[in-house]
């Protein structure tokens, strides 16, 4: 494609694909259009690198800011402060057409496959849209590429799928069309926001396996966002655990699942039920309370009001830095001090 200048770095260049430095994405909350009530701190100081060809998972409960982070990386929200750096250029400094080119380099797979597809377009049209937007005029080329991605997501026969409207497809097929659309512009980064949470159990594994194999085959960077830790083990290399707009723990996937360090991560893992009849015999340990409002988050460590290891005078007064209690395993908790 002609407009590859500011896409997230293509394979072969050294350095991370995407660097995120102290990123804040806040939303102004107004009443009647002008009264400022404050800021929703959806993403509140997040720093990480995405390497080429790796698969990372952002894990957290709803309202932890993981979706806002994804949208910021997609260029849909403007960062309030901090930087998203791709190819040495900060996202905030890109011009309109550069931003459009950047967006072509980031594929997006959403949670609700039916909602993600315009109901009044058939699959052929849905797949043509991104190519039209990016100036692929030739009808033959568009058709050929659409068929190629449909094959890649294993939707066949293409002749049957292309004229169908979204409501005629099953949930799994819809999600495959969404993935196909995300692949059309040959992105180097694929962001999947809860790609399977609205699908049936038996389809979930299928879609996750598909994403995994596409990631491996295309050597994509896959950032996938989920609230379900039980699905990440086989589909991510690294995990970032988010709570109230911040990353509170990050590590290689097995290390994090076997040796969770942060009390919140521990609670999250303890709440997950692997199918077992013994589950019914005892109550689970669940931290009291609910995730804080992003409008007025608690000071210092955001988890301290619910934390079983709360240390007064420390956890509620000073932000915990990222400790490294295990090798390449960071956790923002004063317990590791």
């Amino acid at each position: 494609m002609s407009e590859s200048a500011f896409r997230p770095a293509s394979a072969g260049t050294s350095g991370p694909l995407l660097s995120v430095r102290d990123l804040h994405t806040w939303f102004e909350l107004r009443q009647w259009g002008f009264l400022r009530l404050g800021h929703v701190r959806a993403v509140d100081g997040v720093t990480f690198d995405l390497k080429r060809g790796e698969s990372v998972a952002f894990v957290g409960e709803s309202g932890c800011g993981k979706s806002s982070l994804a949208r910021t990386l997609l260029g849909l929200h403007r960062p309030t402060s901090g930087e998203v750096v791709s190819e040495g250029r900060s996202l905030g400094t890109l011009s309109g057409s550069e931003l459009k080119a950047y967006r072509a380099g980031v594929g997006y797979v959403q949670q609700d496959p039916y909602g993600a597809l315009p109901p009044f377009m058939n699959v052929r049209r849905i797949l043509a849209e991104p190519m039209i937007v990016h100036g692929i005029r030739s009808r033959e080329e568009r058709e050929a590429r659409a068929r190629q991605v449909l094959e890649e997501v294993r939707l066949s026969p293409a002749d049957e799928i292309l004229p169908k409207f979204p409501h005629m497809l099953s949930g799994g097929q819809q999600q495959r069309v969404v993935i196909a659309r995300a692949l059309l512009l040959e992105p180097s980064l694929l962001i999947a926001d809860e790609p399977v949470s609205m699908l049936d159990a038996s389809v979930r594994v299928e879609i996750l396996n598909l994403l995994h194999s596409i990631q491996a085959k295309r050597n994509l960077t896959l950032a996938f966002i989920t609230h379900d830790l039980s699905t990440v083990r086989h589909y991510a290399n690294r995990i970032f655990v988010m709570y109230a707009g911040r990353i509170i723990e990050q590590a290689e996937v097995n290390d994090l699942l076997e040796h969770p360090q942060h009390p919140y991560t521990q609670a999250l893992l303890a709440a997950i039920a692997d199918p077992d009849a013994d589950n019914a015999k005892h109550q689970r340990d669940v931290p009291a309370g609910e995730p804080p409002s992003l409008l007025n988050p608690p000071p210092a460590c955001r988890f301290h009001p619910r934390c079983p290891h709360f240390m007064a005078g420390l956890c509620d007064e000073e932000d915990p830095p990222d400790f490294e209690p295990r090798r390449r395993h960071w956790s923002a908790c004063w317990l590791h001090r």
């Binding site: 409960e61 709803s62 099953s170 949930g171 049936d200 159990a201 038996s202 389809v203 979930r204 594994v205 299928e206 996750l208 396996n209 609230h227 379900d228 830790l229 039980s230 699905t231 083990r233 086989h234 699942l257 609670a267 999250l268 893992l269 709440a271 997950i272 039920a273 692997d274 199918p275 077992d276 009849a277 589950n279 019914a280 109550q283 689970r284 669940v286 931290p287 609910e290 995730p291």
Partner: protein
């Protein structure tokens, strides 16, 4: 057993007229539920589990084609009841239900407490003060502070609202509560705490539950028995220990190995193919097309076969006892 089971369902059939033909949502279901037991109805979306739940409460849409079989509470068949009698004696008196996505269906302009107290006023004719006091008590049981009664639904978080609709189902002290996907829209921690509430109510009050879900993990949190549904039929009905430890039906086996587990190193596998059309279900075993153990006999519909330990499986592999 001396007493009749709390709920006994025999050969329940429910089909709808639609523009595309007759949809056989529930096609010959037998179920037994004892007092104080929790039964999990497990199945993928579209397998008919929600239709089955609504059929038990007779909350049927208008385009019902056939609705037949036997639904007995404490040994009394209610299929012959008139709508009025059913409403007065069964619905919300003996059986109540938490609908799918009910937490988003709360009336936004009525205080939560009034909505929770409403079944008492409607079904039992209580005064509003008395009903409100009772609602407060039930709120405590599901883990919400009493002052939330006077709030509006939008002031409550998702978990709180789910507890409120649970309270609405519990407020009339029914023997049986049917829960349709009560936690699927909730976060892991909230899910776990709701399941904690259910476990405690079951223990302390002896309430029976039918939990409808597609989530195998969540289902194991409360199940005494599991009924696995596929294409309108129950293909396996077992006690929880046997089901989760040693599933019998090929579909149950595949389903169990498709569940991603936190503490498991093997990659989950997926079940290929799609469920059959519910408009014209196959005459033989409905899972045959996707089944790895298919053989000639599978073209005939297998009856529910008894296995040792009060298990029932709809699969020819188990003809004449365990293979």
């Amino acid at each position: 057993m001396a007493r009749a089971p709390l709920l006994q369902v025999e050969d329940l059939k429910l089909s709808y007229r639609t523009e595309r033909g007759i949809l056989h949502a529930v096609d010959g279901v037998d179920l037994t539920l004892n007092r104080g037991e929790a039964l999990v109805l497990l199945g993928e979306s579209g397998c008919g589990k929600s239709s089955l739940a609504k059929a038990l409460l007779r909350l049927l849409p208008r385009n019902v084609d056939t609705f037949s079989g036997r639904v007995a509470f404490d040994g009394t068949d209610t299929m012959t009841y008139s709508e009025e009698r059913f409403r007065r004696e069964v619905r919300w008196v003996r059986v109540s239900m938490v609908m799918q996505a009910a937490m988003n269906a709360l009336n936004p302009v009525v205080k939560v407490g009034e909505q929770v107290a409403e079944p008492l006023r409607v079904h039992q004719g209580w005064s509003s003060e008395r009903a409100f006091a009772r609602a407060e008590e039930v709120f405590g049981r599901v883990g919400i502070a009493g002052d939330f009664l006077r709030r509006y639904p939008f002031e409550l978080s998702g978990g709180m609202r789910q507890r409120a609709v649970l309270a609405m189902a519990l407020v009339t002290e029914p023997d049986l509560v049917i829960l349709d996907e009560p936690t699927s829209a909730l976060d892991v921690l909230t899910q776990a705490s709701i399941m904690n509430v259910l476990k405690r109510i079951k223990q302390e009050h002896g309430t029976s539950f039918i939990l409808i879900t597609h989530d195998v993990g969540t289902s194991s949190e409360i199940a005494d028995r599991v009924a696995l549904m596929y294409a309108g039929q129950i293909v396996e009905q077992s006690d929880a220990g046997s089901f989760f430890g040693d599933p019998a039906h090929p579909y149950a086996k595949l389903l169990m190995s498709s569940v991603p587990r936190l503490h498991q190193r093997e990659k989950p596998i997926h079940i290929g193919g799609e469920p059959p059309s519910m408009f014209e279900p196959p005459s033989g075993c409905r899972f045959a097309d996707r089944c790895p153990s298919r053989f000639a006999r599978c073209d005939e519909m297998p009856p529910p076969l008894e296995l040792p330990g009060d298990r029932r499986v709809r699969c020819w592999l188990f003809e004449g006892g365990r293979r």
